[in-house]
């Protein structure tokens, strides 16, 4: 029942002095113990004759198995007159197959102990579920049925269209959604990555046949990865997979293609998104970053951890712990197959809109103009290596991470290699990455809030104040 959205995650963040000097550690604080490296998951790789890729990880423990199925082709592959159709597909793929109706599907998965999660992203659609080990074959049977025999019944599609439209209206009341949607349009222009969501028009226009068409194009074994992580014996699981998927045939047509790379810096301007009644301004700064497979991906991660990706980062120390402008500032690197982004965001009360943007721009440029201290570098590297181990504690997380690596064209070894590359990152690597990705002048700025407040506050920056595209 983890239905609570971020609205109720009481995130409380630790603190550091904003001053340049580093905090002295207490003299009786015990030292860190010896490192025990994370052993990367032992992935057994198989490929069925029909091209289906299978990655299996046997992990003893609580009696559960996590499955992920990644299918190539997501929002970026949607027809240009049906933006966000993948999202509709995600909402309807479990609403009927040749032999089961929506209720039966939901009930059979619940009986196995799971809830299906379907995540359409720019490059893929990932189906995931965690079930009781004793029911894993039942779950696999339903999963196989969903990716092979979904029918998109007309009545269910009609209902999903209505509900997706109303969900869109709800999302449009969220400042984070508005900021992200605008940022993607600003950064990606005409590139298919500019779509973050279905539109009112595309939802109304889409039909069950549209969904059946993209389903037939993309759901084919040679474009799919199946991951299983849990307490099973690999040979037994592989036979269970074969008996349910081996008969699945790939069509002879050409699979969906990946859009080509994009990274032209946007106009350094402020895009205003009016949100009447807003008591805060949501400031989002976006520029291009590395893709997941780039040589400097790890160095950029380290730079970002120092800049705004951790609770002790420069940005958090400055605008939260020193100035109290905001509750939850953050910076993150987002990676897609053909592009990477650096996104910095903070929700700030209306009165401090201008000084907050000033500090955000300042901290970006400080990354470009000053090297990290030894302490900053050491802390950021240890944080990133440690947090990877933390994030892979659950089998569902391992399964999801493996699926995302596959979508980004990487092998399972990337999990082990990442920590080593982070640990080997030098101050020079960080400087180089910072100079490449962090200059404030390379960012586009999106400001969501009360329009007059935003325009009056941000006019003194002298940047073009544009209406959101």
């Amino acid at each position: 029942m983890k239905i609570l959205t971020i609205a109720c995650v009481f995130l409380f963040i630790a603190a550091q002095l904003p001053a340049q000097k580093e905090t002295q550690l207490p003299k009786d604080l015990p030292a860190y113990g010896p490192e025990r490296p994370l052993s990367a998951p032992n992935v057994k790789i198989a490929k069925l004759d029909n091209g289906l890729t299978v990655w299996l990880v046997s992990e003893p423990g609580f009696p559960k198995v996590a499955f992920s199925m990644a299918v190539r082709g997501g929002l970026a592959a949607d027809p240009s007159d049906r933006p966000g159709l993948s999202q509709m597909l995600g909402n309807t793929i479990d609403q009927g197959t040749k032999t089961l109706n929506a209720k039966q599907i939901a009930q059979q998965l619940q009986a196995a102990g799971g809830d299906l999660n379907v995540s359409p992203s720019k490059d893929s659609i990932i189906l995931s579920i965690g079930v009781l080990s004793a029911k894993r074959d039942d779950a696999l049977t339903v999963m196989s049925d969903l990716v092979r025999n979904a029918t998109f019944p007309d009545a269910e599609v009609t209902l999903a269209k209505r509900n997706t439209l109303d969900q869109l209206r709800q999302q449009e009341s969220q400042p984070s959604f508005l900021a992200g949607r605008t940022m993607a349009k600003v950064l990606f222009g005409d590139h298919p990555y500019h779509v973050t969501s279905a539109t009112e028009q595309s939802i109304k226009a889409s039909t069950a046949d549209d969904l059946r068409k993209i389903y037939a194009e993309r759901f084919r074994p040679d474009q799919v990865l199946l991951v299983a992580v849990g307490d099973f014996e690999a040979d037994g699981m592989l036979s269970a997979v074969k008996s349910r998927f081996a008969e699945w045939k790939a069509p002879s047509t050409v699979p969906v293609t990946i859009p080509s790379a994009t990274s032209t810096a946007p106009q350094h301007a402020i895009y205003v998104v009016p949100r009447p009644g807003s008591v805060q301004t949501t400031l989002e700064l976006g520029s291009f970053g590395p893709v997941r497979s780039a040589e400097d991906f790890e160095a950029a991660r380290v730079a970002n951890a120092i800049f705004g990706g951790t609770f002790g980062s420069r940005l958090t120390r400055n605008i939260r712990e020193d100035k109290g402008y905001t509750y939850s500032p953050f910076a993150t690197l987002q990676t897609y197959q053909a592009a990477g982004l650096l996104i910095t965001r903070a929700d700030v009360r209306n009165a401090v809109t201008a000084p907050s943007l000033n500090e955000m721009l300042y901290e970006l440029n400080r990354m470009v103009t000053t090297s990290p201290t030894e302490e900053e570098l050491r802390t950021a590297k240890r944080f990133l290596v440690g947090i990877e181990a933390i994030q892979l504690q659950s089998r569902g997380a391992v399964s999801g991470e493996l699926a995302r690596l596959w979508v980004n064209g990487l092998s399972p070894d990337a999990i082990g290699a990442y920590g080593k590359k982070v640990a080997a990152t030098t101050a020079e690597d960080v400087d180089t990455a910072a100079k490449k990705y962090f200059p404030a002048a390379k960012t586009a700025i999106v400001a969501v809030g009360e329009e007059k407040v935003v325009r009056d506050a941000l006019a003194p920056f002298g940047l073009p104040l544009l209406s959101a595209p």
Binding site: F10, G33, P60, E172, V279, T310, R382, V385
Partner: protein, 428 residues
């Protein structure tokens, strides 16, 4: 499980699947017992636990935990406040030192209080004032459903109360509630219990014991009639309805049936309410809820709580239509009970969810420490997944007939401001 001489309870659970650990320090103080005139104080206080001590000034905690490759957080709930960390095992000693250090004393600084007051007020803006629906199902619903201050007040805090908080309040609250005897610490992960107990003796045993506060009565006078009200929302685009039924006390004979019923009605697409309201009758867009939702599990509460349903519905459906459809679902359950298949399914789902939670060291540490805080032992953490299958269809039926009645509930309907104009496409 062991108790140190100063009253601090320690629980250890070994798990060698990864070279990491999770730790949870839970204190038996939450929203419910914060002083009148100081709404939101338990949570504001929690922020101040991250602001340093005389030994480890502001900044050290974060530097030690993040520099050790870990992450930390805190949560305030009705009946506890927890401080949680997870990190590679190499950081265990410094993290334990940090937790022990802030159990000894804090840096009671007005500057830090002022800073965190601002941060908390920004948090309330992000999560409540600037959000559609503004958590009304979690804040306003208990406010209407209960009559006494401990259970009914706004836990996030009125700004006038947050503004009024003084450093003396911070000291008094710490003195009274943040005592070793009022805390339970659980460590889960790549550890040996004897090693952990030895470390506990070293870091925590020197903290002097202090009197553990008595638990005041927080009972509610009985509810006699249905309570209904409505609100407007400046940010929401569609209406929402919250329904709350008062629940039986923690660990009382009906509590297990309550938990199962709450999940049967709300958990996922197979749930009764989703199937009836979103799919069959198509009068709702989404349904969330459960017992003690959204601020806890159905098994972790030490005072009055609700089974809450939060339903978002389309503007062309009326409140009465929605409530009528909801009532039909409840009536069916109260008159006919669930089938055995229904029960088996939801029990499998709940068990699977519980295992999924226990799998993660920091979550297991939370579950263990909460169980000890509420029950004096952690048996329930491992027994509940099995106990669930003892709940019978007759018990669920009887529970629904007794508790899910209109005289035991509160309903708030929340509609967008100027919904009618927006429908015409005027926009706002």
């Amino acid at each position: 499980m062991k108790k140190l001489s100063n009253g601090l309870t320690v629980v250890v659970s070994e798990d060698h699947s990864a070279p990491t650990f999770g730790i949870c320090v839970s204190y038996g103080i939450g929203f419910r017992l914060e002083p009148e005139g100081r709404t939101g104080f338990a949570h504001l206080f929690e922020h101040l636990m991250f602001e340093g001590t005389p030994n480890a000034p502001k900044g050290v905690l974060d530097r030690v935990i993040e520099g050790g490759g870990g992450a930390n957080n805190g949560d305030t709930r009705y009946d506890y406040t927890e401080y949680i960390e997870t990190a590679p095992i190499s950081a265990l000693d410094p993290v334990l030192w940090i937790e022990a250090d802030r159990m000894k004393t804090l840096d009671f600084s007005t500057k830090n209080l002022d800073n965190q007051r601002n941060v908390v007020e920004e948090e309330v803006r992000v999560n409540v004032i600037n959000q559609p629906f503004g958590l009304f199902f979690a804040i306003d619903l208990p406010g209407k459903a209960f009559d006494t201050y401990p259970n009914a007040h706004n836990f996030y805090g009125d700004f006038k109360d947050l503004d009024a908080a003084k450093i003396e309040d911070v000291k008094a609250f710490y003195e009274k509630y943040y005592t070793p005897g009022n805390a339970v610490i659980a460590v889960v992960g790549d550890v040996k219990p004897d090693d952990v107990y030895a470390k506990m003796e070293r870091y925590f045993a020197p903290i002097p014991s202090r009197p553990t506060p008595a638990k005041p009565k927080v009972d509610e006078p009985p509810q006699k009639t249905e309570r209904r009200s409505s609100e407007t929302d400046k940010l929401a685009k569609v209406p929402g309805l919250a329904i709350g039924y008062r629940m039986p006390p923690h660990r009382s004979p009906d509590a297990l049936a309550a938990a199962v019923t709450g999940e049967l009605l709300h958990n996922g697409q197979a749930s009764r309410l989703y199937q009836a309201l979103v799919k069959d009758k198509q009068v709702a867009l989404s349904v969330d809820g459960g017992v003690n939702w959204p601020l806890g599990t159905p098994f972790e509460y030490a005072g009055p709580t609700l089974m809450t349903s939060f339903i978002v519905y389309p503007p062309n459906v009326t409140e009465d239509q929605l409530v009528a459809a909801y009532d039909a679902t409840i009536k069916d359950l109260a008159e006919n009970g669930p089938t055995q298949q229904d029960l088996d399914r939801i029990v499998a789902k709940m068990r699977s969810d519980m295992y999924g939670n226990l799998e993660i060291p920091i979550s297991r540490a939370s579950a263990l420490s909460h169980a000890v805080l509420f029950d004096g032992n952690f048996d329930s953490v491992y027994q509940l997944p099995e106990e669930l299958s003892k709940v019978t269809a007759a018990q669920v039926k009887a529970f629904a007939a007794k508790y899910l009645v209109s005289t035991n509930r509160t309903i708030i309907n929340r509609v967008p401001v100027g919904a009618a104009e927006k429908e015409k496409g005027a926009g706002q």
